[in-house]
C-alpha cells in the first residue's frame, strides 16, 4: 500500500515538473550602472552645440534622458578656451567652428572628469560637379549620372558624399490661401566605386534594388588617391512624374570627416540597421569620450546645388 502511494507521489512530482518547466522564461537581474554622455557632432563654419546627459539602464522604459546642467565644462580650440552659452540644458559655442583646428572638451560632473579631443578636417578643395549627362532609361525607370570632382589634401582623409533632394510644393489651403511647403530628404544613389576604398559595409544604411546597391550616404577613404584629384560618378533615379506645382533642387554634399565621426556614424547606423535581427552579430557603437559615452567629433562640408 505504502509502496503504491510512493509510486503515485513520484509520478505526480515528475509530471508536475514536466508540465511547469518546459521553455520557461525567467526574469533576471541586470547590473545597472549609468554613465555620463557627451553628444556633439559639429561642422566647420557652424556653431558647436552639445548636451550632457546620463545614460539609463537598458531595462528602463523612460523615453527621455536626464540632462546634466551643473557640469563644469571647458571647450578649447587649439588649447585655448572658447566661450560657451548654456540654454535649456544645451551648450553652444559663441563662435563658429574652424576647419583644421583641434577642439577638446573637459566636463567635471560629481567628481568624474569626462574628456575628448578631435581635429576638424580641412575643407574639401575645388569641389565641382558635371550634370551634363542625359537622363537615361525608359518610362518605368530613369536615372541620371553626375560626375563629382574634388582635390584630396595631404594626409589620410575620409569622405562622406550625400545627395539631398529639396522640393518646394505650392498649393492653396482650405482657407484659399496660396501657400508652400518644403521637403528635404537624402536621395538614394549608386556609385561607380570600383577604384574607391569604400568603407560602407553592405548592410550600411542603403538598400539593394535589382543588382545594384543604393547608398543613402557614401563613405570612402582617399586610399589610392592621396593628394590627387578624386573623381566619382553617382547615379540616382529620376521619377517619371513631375508636378508643375513643385520646384525641385538637388545638392551634392561632400564632407571631409574625422575618423571619430566616421567610426561613430558607421557603428551607430549599423547597430540601428540590424536592430531586432536575431541572426545578426550585435554592433558596438564607437565612443571617444574618456570616462563616459557619446561622441565629440566634427566635419567640414562643401556642397553644390543644381
Amino acid at each position: 500500500m505504502i509502496k503504491s502511494k510512493v509510486v503515485q507521489l513520484a509520478v505526480c512530482i515528475i509530471l508536475s515538473a514536466i508540465v511547469f518547466s518546459c521553455e520557461k522564461e525567467i526574469e533576471m537581474k541586470l547590473d545597472e550602472s549609468n554613465s555620463y554622455v557627451i553628444n556633439s557632432l559639429f561642422s566647420a563654419d557652424s556653431i558647436m552645440s552639445f548636451d550632457i546627459t546620463e545614460s539609463k539602464s537598458v531595462l528602463s522604459n523612460r523615453f527621455d534622458y536626464d540632462t546634466i546642467t551643473n557640469a563644469e565644462v571647458i571647450v578649447t580650440k587649439n588649447g585655448s578656451p572658447i566661450s560657451l552659452n548654456q540654454q535649456g540644458g544645451k551648450y553652444f559655442s559663441s563662435d563658429v567652428i574652424e576647419a583644421g583646428a583641434t577642439y577638446a572638451i573637459e566636463a567635471k560632473i560629481s567628481g568624474l572628469t569626462l574628456s575628448a579631443e578631435t581635429k576638424i578636417p580641412s575643407k574639401v578643395q575645388n569641389l565641382s560637379i558635371d550634370t551634363s549627362s542625359a537622363i537615361i532609361g525608359d518610362y518605368g525607370f530613369r536615372e541620371k549620372k553626375i560626375r563629382i570632382t574634388f582635390d584630396d589634401g595631404e594626409g589620410k582623409s575620409y569622405y562622406k558624399v550625400s545627395l539631398v533632394q529639396k522640393s518646394i510644393s505650392y498649393y492653396t489651403d482650405y482657407n484659399g490661401i496660396e501657400t508652400s511647403s518644403e521637403n528635404e530628404y537624402n536621395e538614394y544613389f549608386t556609385v561607380d566605386g570600383s577604384r574607391l576604398d569604400l568603407i560602407n559595409s553592405t548592410d550600411d544604411f542603403g538598400t539593394v534594388f535589382g543588382d545594384d546597391f543604393y547608398y543613402n550616404e557614401l563613405y570612402f577613404s582617399d586610399l589610392g588617391f592621396e593628394n590627387q584629384t578624386i573623381n566619382l560618378v553617382i547615379s540616382f533615379p529620376i521619377y517619371s512624374y513631375e508636378y508643375s506645382y513643385e520646384d525641385k533642387f538637388y545638392s551634392v554634399i561632400v564632407s571631409k570627416v574625422s575618423e571619430d565621426y566616421l567610426l561613430y556614424n558607421q557603428t551607430k547606423n549599423q547597430q540601428q540597421y540590424t536592430s531586432g535581427d536575431p541572426f545578426a552579430q550585435p554592433t558596438l557603437v564607437y565612443s571617444n569620450i574618456n570616462n563616459g559615452l557619446g561622441i565629440f567629433a566634427g566635419i567640414s562640408s562643401e556642397f553644390v546645388t543644381f
Binding site: I14, A17, I18, F20, S21, E23, K24, E25, I26, E27, M28, L30, S33, N34, S35, V37, N39, F42, S43, S49, T53, S55, K56, S57, V58, L59, S60, N61, Y65, S162, E184, N186, S201, T202, D203, F205, N216, E217, N265, K268, N269, Q270, Q271, Q272, Y273, T274, S275, F279, A280, Q281, P282, L284, V285, Y286, L293, G294, I295, I299, S301, F303
Partner: protein, 800 residues
C-alpha cells in the same frame, strides 16, 4: 604480388630493422575479445620480468622484438582478464591471443599490475572513454550519446542540447572527428540535440586535446577518433533497442568462416510515424485532400572485414545518416466556374555519407602497413515546391509550377598509407602519407518556373550560386614513440601539410613533441608541444549548430589557422585503480575567423570573406582528471580552470574579448556502480560557469548629425544600445544532474536490459538564450529561455 608496396622500401626498412635487432626476434600477433573476436585497441603486451612491452595498434596488432630467451609474456586490457604465456623466443613468432571479458574486473587483482598506466605513456590530454562505461551512463530521451559523454571530459565545453565541442578554447570546427579514420563534417541530428554516432556500432573512442601525435593533422584543437566494431567472428549476435524516440538494431557475425565477419547497425526515429494520426486529423479539419508532414533521422553503419591470411586483411566500412523534415499537401477543389488542385511540397534535409576501404598488410612482423581509401560527404538540401492546375467552364486548362532548391555541402576523397614500424621495445615508429581532395559546394540554388496559361507556356530553370571549389590537402608524417633509458619516454614527430586552393599554395611543417619522465614508480611528469594547422573553416552560428553551417576552404585572403599548444602535467596511479592527471596548457591560435559586428549569420556563400575577420586567440588553463576504470564503481571527476580570449583588429575596437565559451570553472562528475549482475546505476553531474554573450547594459541618446538629412532615427530610433564589449556579459552558471538505472535480466536467448533515465534530475532551469522581453506590468526585463526540464525516459535493450 605486383600490388605489394615498393619492394625497395621493404628492403631498406628490413635492413634497418635487422641492424638494430641483431640476435633478436619478434613476437607479434593480434589481440582479440574471446567472445566476439573484436580487436582490442591499445591492449598491453609485456615481459613480466623486465616489464618491457608494447601496446596493440588500432587494429589490435602488436609486435615486440626481444633478445633470444624464454619469457613470461603478459597480455592485458582494461575490463578483461589478463593472460600470461610462456614464450621461448628463438625465432620470429606469431601469437594471436583472445582475452576474456570480465564484467567487473576485480580491482584488487590489478593493483600493482602493469596494465596500461597513464604514468607510462607519453600521451597528454588524451582520454580513452571505455564503451562499457558509456553503456551504463544516463541517456537523453533513451539515446546514448558518445559526444555528450565526451563533452563531460575536462577541457571540453559545450552548450545545452548541442553536439558541438569547444576544446581548450577552440571552435566547433577545430575538432577532427574521425569515424574509422574518415572525417565526419556534421555530427548533429535534430539541430544538435543528438549526435550521429550510434554507440551500438562503436568499439573505441579516444579524445585527444593536446600533445597531438604527428599522425594527426588538419584541425587545431582536438581529435575524436571513433572506431567501429569489426563484427563478431565467432557467432551471430545482435542488439535490439526500443527507446522513446527511436529504435536500434545491430547484427554482427561471421560470414561463412571466422575469416570474414560483418556488422550492420541501424537507428531510426519514429516521431513522424507517431504523429501521423494527428496530422490526418489536421488535414481533415483544414479540408485538405492529403497532408503529410514529419521529421525523422536515421543512421546506418555497416562494416565487413575479411582475413585473406595472417598477413593480409581487408575492411570495408560505411556510414550514412540523414535528417529530413517535410511537409506535403494537396488540395482539390471544384465549383461551377472551375475545378483543379493545388499541391505544395517543402523539404529540409541534411546528412553524411562516409566510406572507408582499408587494407592491412603485414610486410614483416615489425612492419605493419595500412592503406585506406576514404570518401566523406556532407550535404544540405532545402527545397520548396508549388504546383496548381485548374480547368475552367470552357474546358481550358491553366497550369503553374514553381520550385526552388538550395544545396550546399562538401565531398572528400582521400587516400592514405600508414606504416607502423616496431624495431624494438624502445621504438614505435609510425610514418605515412595522405592526400584528401576536397570539393566544396558553398551554395547553389536552382529555381524552376513553368506555366501554361491557356496556351501560352513557359518552362525555365535558373541556377545561381558559387561554383564548386576543388582543393587538395597533402599530409606527410613521421613519429617515434621511444623509450630513452628506464625513466624517459618521448614521442617526437613532424607532420608536413600542404594545401592547394585556386592558385594559392600553403605549406606548413608542424613539429610535435611529448615526453614522460617517471619520477617515482607511480608518478610521472609530462610535457608536450604541438603545432597544428587547419585549412578549412566552418561558417557557423555561434549559438547552435544549424545544418546551414558552411564549410569553406582557406583563400588567398583568409589564411590557414595556426595553433601552438604547450602543456605540462603530472600523472599518478593511485591506490584502488584510481588514476590522477593534472595538466596545464597554453594555446595560441592565429588566423581564426569571427563574424564582424552587425553581420547576419544567414549569409550568402559568395561574400563570406567580407563578413568575417581574421584574428588571434589564446587559451590557457589547468585540468584535473581523476578516473577509475576498474572495479564495481567506475567513473571520473574532472575540473577545468580556463581562460579563452580572442582579438581582431576590427572587432570590439581591437580590444581582446572573451570567447563565447570562455568558462572559468567547469566540473564534471560521472559514476557508474554495479550493485549486482542484475542492477547497475549511473549518475553524472556537470557544472560550468555561464557562457559569455554580447548583451547591452545601458542606452543613451543619438548625437544630432550635422549636414545630413538621414538623421538619427532612420532605422532604429534615437537610442544607442551600449555594450560593455563583445561577450562581456556572463550568463548564469549551468549545472545538471542525470541519473540512470539499468535492470539486467538473463533470458534464455540473451540478456534484457531496462534502462530508466532522468535527464536534468533536479529540474534545473539552465540558460540557453537571453532576450529582452516585457513583464506583466509592461516593464522591460531580461528573460532566460531554458530548453530541457526534467526529462524521464526509458529504453529496452535485448542482446543476443
Amino acid at each position: 604480388m605486383n600490388s605489394y608496396p615498393p619492394k625497395i622500401l621493404v628492403l631498406i626498412l628490413t635492413f634497418f630493422s635487422l641492424s638494430l635487432t641483431a640476435q633478436k626476434f619478434t613476437l607479434s600477433g593480434y589481440l582479440s575479445d574471446s567472445e566476439t573476436g573484436e580487436k582490442l585497441i591499445g591492449a598491453s603486451v609485456y615481459d613480466k620480468k623486465s616489464l618491457k612491452g608494447t601496446s596493440a595498434n588500432i587494429y589490435g596488432y602488436y609486435s615486440i622484438t626481444l633478445p633470444t630467451d624464454t619469457y613470461n609474456i603478459v597480455f592485458s586490457y582494461v575490463g578483461y582478464s589478463k593472460i600470461e604465456k610462456k614464450v621461448v623466443l628463438t625465432s620470429d613468432t606469431e601469437l594471436n591471443i583472445d582475452l576474456s571479458s570480465s564484467s567487473t574486473l576485480d580491482e584488487v587483482k590489478i593493483v600493482g599490475d602493469k596494465m596500461e598506466k597513464i604514468t607510462e605513456t607519453t600521451k597528454m590530454g588524451s582520454i580513452n572513454i571505455p564503451m562499457k562505461q558509456i553503456e551504463k551512463m544516463p541517456t537523453f530521451l533513451g539515446e546514448r550519446d558518445l559526444i555528450k559523454v565526451a563533452q563531460m571530459l575536462p577541457g571540453v565545453q559545450s552548450s545545452e542540447g548541442s553536439s558541438g565541442m569547444y576544446v581548450r578554447g577552440g571552435g566547433p570546427d577545430q575538432n577532427l572527428i574521425l569515424l574509422d579514420g574518415v572525417p565526419v563534417y556534421n555530427v548533429s541530428h535534430l539541430f544538435g540535440f543528438f549526435s550521429v554516432f550510434n554507440s551500438d556500432a562503436v568499439s573505441n573512442v579516444e579524445l585527444i586535446k593536446g600533445g597531438f601525435p604527428a599522425r594527426y593533422g588538419g584541425r587545431l584543437s582536438s581529435v575524436l577518433d571513433i572506431r567501429m566494431k569489426e563484427g563478431n567472428t565467432k557467432k551471430l549476435s545482435g542488439t535490439a533497442s526500443i527507446g522513446l524516440i527511436s529504435s536500434k538494431l545491430t547484427l554482427e557475425g561471421p560470414l561463412g568462416s571466422e575469416n570474414t565477419s560483418f556488422i550492420i547497425s541501424g537507428r531510426r526515429t519514429y516521431i513522424d510515424i507517431l504523429a501521423q494520426p494527428f496530422i490526418k486529423i489536421a488535414a481533415r479539419n483544414d479540408g485538405l485532400e492529403s497532408l503529410s508532414a514529419g521529421y525523422y533521422f536515421y543512421d546506418f553503419n555497416a562494416k565487413i572485414n575479411h582475413k585473406f591470411s595472417n598477413k593480409s586483411r581487408l575492411y570495408l566500412s560505411a556510414y550514412t545518416g540523414k535528417d529530413k523534415a517535410y511537409i506535403r499537401s494537396k488540395d482539390k477543389y471544384s465549383n461551377s466556374f472551375e475545378s483543379g488542385y493545388e499541391e505544395q511540397n517543402n523539404k529540409l534535409g541534411w546528412g553524411n555519407l562516409t566510406t572507408a576501404l582499408r587494407w592491412n598488410y603485414l610486410l614483416t612482423p615489425k612492419l605493419f602497413s595500412n592503406v585506406t581509401l576514404t570518401y566523406s560527404q556532407y550535404k544540405f538540401d532545402v527545397g520548396i515546391g508549388y504546383e496548381s492546375e485548374y480547368t475552367n467552364s470552357n474546358d481550358e486548362t491553366n497550369f503553374e509550377e514553381f520550385s526552388s532548391e538550395y544545396i550546399s555541402g562538401i565531398d572528400d576523397i582521400g587516400l592514405r598509407w600508414d606504416i607502423d614500424y616496431l624495431p624494438s621495445p624502445n621504438h614505435f615508429i609510425r610514418f605515412g602519407v595522405s592526400n584528401i581532395f576536397h570539393k566544396f559546394t558553398p551554395g547553389i540554388s536552382s529555381t524552376k518556373i513553368a506555366y501554361d496559361d491557356f496556351g501560352e507556356s513557359i518552362d525555365t530553370t535558373l541556377s545561381v550560386g558559387s561554383d564548386p571549389l576543388r582543393t587538395s590537402e597533402l599530409g606527410l608524417y613521421l613519429e617515434d614513440d621511444m623509450k630513452i633509458g628506464d625513466k624517459l619516454k618521448v614521442n617526437a614527430g613532424i607532420h608536413l601539410a600542404a594545401f592547394a586552393v585556386d592558385n594559392q599554395f600553403y605549406f606548413n611543417p608542424q613539429p610535435r613533441l611529448a615526453a614522460n619522465y617517471q619520477v617515482a614508480s607511480n608518478t610521472s611528469v609530462k610535457a608536450g608541444y604541438s603545432r597544428m594547422n587547419q585549412y578549412i573553416h566552418l561558417l557557423t552560428n555561434v549559438g547552435i549548430g544549424l545544418p546551414t553551417d558552411l564549410w569553406v576552404p582557406v583563400t588567398d585572403s583568409i589564411e590557414p589557422m595556426i595553433g601552438n599548444q604547450y602543456s605540462i602535467g603530472l600523472a599518478q596511479n593511485l591506490n584502488n585503480g584510481f588514476e590522477l592527471s593534472v595538466e596545464g596548457y597554453y594555446k595560441t591560435m592565429q588566423n581564426i575567423i569571427e563574424y564582424k559586428d552587425g553581420v547576419s549569420f544567414l549569409l550568402q556563400a559568395d561574400d563570406w570573406q567580407n563578413k568575417v575577420e581574421s584574428g588571434d586567440g589564446w587559451a590557457y588553463g589547468a585540468e584535473v582528471f581523476l578516473q577509475k576504470k576498474t572495479g564495481k564503481t567506475t567513473g571520473w571527476l574532472g575540473y577545468t580552470l580556463s581562460w579563452t580570449n580572442r582579438q581582431f583588429e576590427n572587432i570590439n575596437f581591437g580590444e581582446k574579448f572573451p570567447y563565447r565559451y570562455d568558462r572559468r570553472h567547469d566540473v564534471s562528475f560521472a559514476i557508474v556502480h554495479d550493485f549486482s549482475k542484475k542492477f547497475n546505476m549511473g549518475l553524472t553531474w556537470v557544472f560550468g560557469t555561464g557562457n559569455s554573450v554580447t548583451l547591452p547594459v545601458a542606452q543613451y541618446g543619438v548625437a544630432d548629425n550635422p549636414v545630413s538629412l538621414s538623421n538619427n532615427s532612420f532605422f532604429g530610433g534615437n537610442t544607442i544600445k551600449h555594450y560593455e564589449g563583445r561577450n562581456a556579459y556572463r550568463m548564469p552558471s549551468y549545472h545538471r544532474m542525470d541519473v540512470s538505472f539499468n535492470f539486467v535480466k538473463q533470458k534464455k536467448r540473451g540478456e534484457a536490459i531496462w534502462n530508466i533515465s532522468f535527464y536534468n534530475a533536479y529540474n534545473r532551469q539552465n540558460p540557453f538564450a537571453l532576450y529582452f522581453g516585457i513583464d506583466d506590468r509592461g516593464g522591460q526585463v531580461l528573460k532566460q529561455i531554458s530548453l530541457f526540464p526534467l526529462i524521464p525516459s526509458f529504453a529496452y535493450t535485448f542482446k543476443f
